[in-house]
């Protein structure tokens, strides 16, 4: 009897303890904060070495850590410490030494070291994919060395002004994980270089780890508890990254509250509709994109600068901005105005039909003698509208225009040679890496000929010399001065009709806090920065 009572008392005590302990254990659990993001592009790969489009960059930014990070807190794309907590640059600008922050853990639990940075850079250079072309001019496999457990050194062939900025695009990978999972492949001792592994899991240290990936429809990313920057209440713990191509469906999802944020690729009328919907915020920022019409300077009659200038004066910029690129800023030269290093003194062409006619006459052409081919990318209807506007404007000065639409693949193919490149091509060109070099050297140095960015085949020995000098200059102030200086002769030579710096728009529910746009593709959707305040 006594034993029974004793047993009952013991059980009662256990139940009581359990009841007291239960709420405590529940409250100690982190509250799940789910977040649904809709993107209209599929994630083709989670290998950061191949990430160049927005959706692939989103996966890289959230699953991995770049060596440096844009200074989003200050609203700029200038690099700030991240994985590297400090760095030094040699006086000749050829040696960059970075100190890696100790204690950063990969998702496997292993600590990141300088060896991982070396492995990552060599891998990109050997794979020759993604942003490798940014580093290829100054680095090769073996140029990066670990000079201590947490110190890494890049030995450049020559001084390279944009180098520090490009470290924002170097997403560090777990060397041991990849090496332990190699399969046969075309890279010798490195086999497939981890391609098979990266088909099913990430190899990063970022705030989220990949939980599920169904190609073409959804990626689920769950927070990595061991993330070195720690976690605060309200931060997103699980991201449902969904791919939906149809614009009407994307709108339905956010209006119905089934999505928290939708991407930038909706049309302006859709953003206008969302703007008028209660509970939805449409954030608009001037983008670092340039919309311009590249003129092939190697193809007569556009090899004559006066004809190019005449075309630039004939175009009606006001109509383009007010009726086609609603909300955009008129472009002022090749560099988008939000990019550090843009020169406000860059000459700007405005509509002046009389001047256009005069220039055409000075160039020795009579009305009706010139016919130009205008190429637009099918699937971007805005470019066709711009073509129609250009055609009507050029008719006023006696130039005929043939408007031709081609798919992107064909445009890239035609860009390979000056002979196959049309007279004028419409291109949206965003900043490729966070440096003014992208929209100067990257577009107007002859080394880029053959790519879509350089369909003007522009060549001016003085400009080429200035661009090379700017790239080799180590002092940031002197370097920036040269990049600003070069924008003036380029604009005067009119290799393009610089039309607009379009608006960047994105829509999200009003309880999403912490969104910041600094211009660099993909970095605005670093989900770690968001909090939910329902």
């Amino acid at each position: 009897m006594i034993r029974q009572r004793h047993l009952a008392n013991t059980l009662a005590a256990i139940v009581a303890v359990a009841l007291i302990a239960l709420p405590a254990s529940v409250s100690s659990q982190v509250r799940e904060v789910p977040f649904t993001y809709i993107e209209q592009q599929i994630i083709t790969s989670i290998d950061p070495a191949g990430a160049v489009d927005e959706s692939s960059l989103h996966s890289a930014i959230n699953l991995y850590d770049p060596l440096l990070y844009p200074n989003v807190e200050k609203g700029t794309m200038e690099p700030r410490p991240h994985v590297a907590e400090s760095w030094t640059i040699s006086p000749d600008g050829k040696t960059y030494t970075f100190k890696i922050r100790p204690g950063i853990k990969f998702h496997t639990g292993r600590e990141m070291t300088a060896e991982d940075v070396v492995f990552t850079m060599d891998r990109v250079l050997r794979l020759k994919r993604g942003f490798f072309w940014v580093w290829a001019p100054v680095l090769e496999p073996g140029s990066t060395k670990a000079v201590g457990r947490h110190t890494v050194r890049f030995q450049l062939k020559e001084a390279y002004a944009p180098f520090l900025g490009t470290m924002l695009l170097l997403f560090i990978m777990d060397k041991d994980l990849i090496m332990a999972n190699l399969r046969p492949g075309p890279f010798g001792e490195f086999g497939d270089y981890g391609a098979g592994l990266l088909d099913r899991q990430d190899a990063g240290s970022g705030p989220y780890r990949m939980e599920k990936w169904e190609r073409a429809t959804e990626m689920v990313m769950a927070r990595f508890d061991g993330y070195w920057r720690g976690w605060k209440p309200g931060q997103i713990s699980k991201v449902f990254y969904k791919t939906v191509l149809e614009e009407a469906t994307v709108k339905t999802l956010i209006i119905a509250g089934q999505a928290d944020m939708v991407n930038q690729w909706l049309s302006p009328p859709s953003f206008l509709e969302l703007k008028q919907t209660p509970g939805i915020v449409v954030k608009e920022d001037p983008s670092v994109q340039l919309f311009h019409l590249l003129m092939n300077t190697k193809k007569p009659p556009l090899d004559n600068v006066k004809v190019r200038q005449a075309v630039s004066y004939a175009f009606n910029y006001d109509i383009a901005i007010q009726q086609i690129f609603v909300g955009a800023t008129k472009a002022r030269g090749p560099v988008p105005i939000k990019v550090p290093g843009w020169n406000p003194q860059t000459p700007v062409y405005g509509r002046n039909v009389a001047r256009a006619k005069q220039l055409l006459s000075e160039a020795g052409f009579k009305p009706g003698e010139i016919t130009l081919e205008y190429l637009w990318i099918t699937g971007v209807p805005m470019e066709r509208l711009i073509g129609l506007l250009l055609k009507s404007n050029l008719e006023e000065i006696g130039i005929k225009t043939e408007i031709i639409g081609e798919p992107w693949g064909r445009v890239v193919e035609r860009a390979a040679k000056a002979e196959t490149t049309p007279h004028i091509t419409a291109i949206f060109d965003t900043l490729k890496y966070p440096h003014v070099d992208s929209h100067t050297y990257g577009m107007y140095h002859p080394s880029c000929w053959g790519t879509f960015r350089c369909m003007s085949f522009y060549e001016n020995p003085a400009v080429t010399k200035l661009l090379e000098q700017a790239r080799r200059t180590v002092d940031p102030a002197a370097q920036m001065k040269l990049y600003q200086e070069v924008q003036i002769p380029i604009a005067k030579d009119a290799p393009s009709i610089y039309i607009a710096n379009p608006l960047h728009r994105i829509a999200f529910r009003d309880y999403v806090k912490g969104y910041r746009y600094v211009g660099l593709l993909g970095f605005d959707c670093a989900f770690y920065d968001f909090t939910i305040a329902r």
């Binding site: 073409a216 339905t252 999802l253 119905a256 798919p407 790519t451 879509f452």
Partner: protein
């Protein structure tokens, strides 16, 4: 010629058809404008890199050598490497084909289950209000674009009523056997997974089925009107047989042969043309993948999708031909 010989002969007939199709699509994919290698490597790729990948993929070899190499790969289940998804095309097919097969099959089942009774009703009540309504609905079903109907369904059932999910296939059942979620959840007796999958597929399947449903309904109506006028129908009625027996047992069987042809053709057509519905509902299917590969000029993907759809088309129509024999006793394989 017996039934077995007939089937065997039909299967053998499929071989030259598939070889012809593969040659045709192989050549077309190679002459399409746009350079797939340059596209895959990105606009910044150097000429040297483009050439290197071209060599790696065997694109520097003569066309017939490329074709034979491809064909021998196909027989080993190797459809080549996708420049779009950067992995084996066979893996892509394994991921995407079941979704489209499931969607198309359910759409066909809906079209048959709804189209036949509606067509019969319309014929039996010819020129009555019900007939007029059915005809207008059928006309609308044929004429309305599927993607537009899909968007309307989304707005009604997902947004306003909140009854069905807007997009996707839903979570995969815990145990996957065939890759067809409905079938897998039934096979594993996972009722909750079945309901979730059914909710996800309901709208896309219905949107996809409407055109075929309307076609079946119109055909059945027309054939049944003919059958109802025949002497044997009058004789059956005069014998006092129940009308449902006359209609569904005797007349419908006769009226069904022409519809069966349409069913076979539509199934194949839907497999390759489900793209717009898949796009609206973010359905991870083969048609969706096929269009993506076409846009990226990923020719290995394009050829594989075409071959898969071609084989499915041929197999379905073989089944249809076999079914003729069961439905129409005049068709005797032995008399061929």
């Amino acid at each position: 010629m017996g039934f077995r010989t007939y089937v065997l002969r039909r299967i053998l007939h499929m071989i030259p058809v598939m070889v012809g199709l593969s040659i045709l699509i192989f050549v077309i994919s190679r002459v399409m404008p746009g350079d797939p290698v340059r596209l895959a490597l990105g606009p910044e790729a150097t000429i040297e890199q483009v050439e290197q990948l071209r060599r790696q993929m065997g694109l520097d070899k003569p066309l017939h050598v490329q074709y034979l190499a491809y064909l021998s790969g196909v027989f080993r289940g190797d459809f080549g490497y996708s420049l779009l998804t950067r992995r084996a095309v066979a893996k892509d097919l394994k991921d995407f084909f079941p979704a489209t097969l499931e969607l198309t099959t359910l759409a066909m089942v809906l079209a048959i289950l709804l189209g036949i009774p509606l067509g019969v009703r319309a014929a039996v009540r010819k020129d009555a209000l019900e007939d007029h309504v059915n005809r207008v609905v059928a006309l609308a079903g044929v004429a309305l674009p599927r993607f537009w109907l899909a968007i309307l369904l989304q707005i009604a059932f997902a947004y306003h009523l909140g009854l069905l999910p807007t997009i996707g296939r839903g979570p995969a059942p815990a145990t996957q056997i065939t890759g067809l979620y409905l079938l897998d959840s039934l096979l594993t007796l996972d009722l909750s997974a079945f309901i979730v999958s059914l909710k996800h597929i309901a709208m896309p399947a219905f949107a996809l089925s409407v055109g075929t449903l309307a076609q079946i309904m119109r055909l059945i109506r027309a054939s049944m009107i003919e059958e109802l006028r025949r002497d044997h129908a009058l004789a059956a009625r005069s014998y006092g047989l129940p009308s449902n027996l006359i209609i569904y047992r005797y007349l419908l069987k006769n009226a069904f042969t022409s519809t069966l042809t349409i069913i076979g053709l539509s199934y194949g057509f839907l497999l390759g043309n489900a793209f717009l519905v898949e796009r609206v509902f973010a359905w991870p299917g083969l048609a969706f993948y096929g269009v993506d590969t076409l846009l990226a000029k990923d020719f290995n993907g394009v050829i594989a999708v075409t071959l898969v759809v071609g084989v499915a088309y041929a197999v379905i129509n073989l089944f249809v031909d076999i079914l003729y024999g069961y439905i129409d006793p005049r068709v005797r394989y032995g008399e061929g």
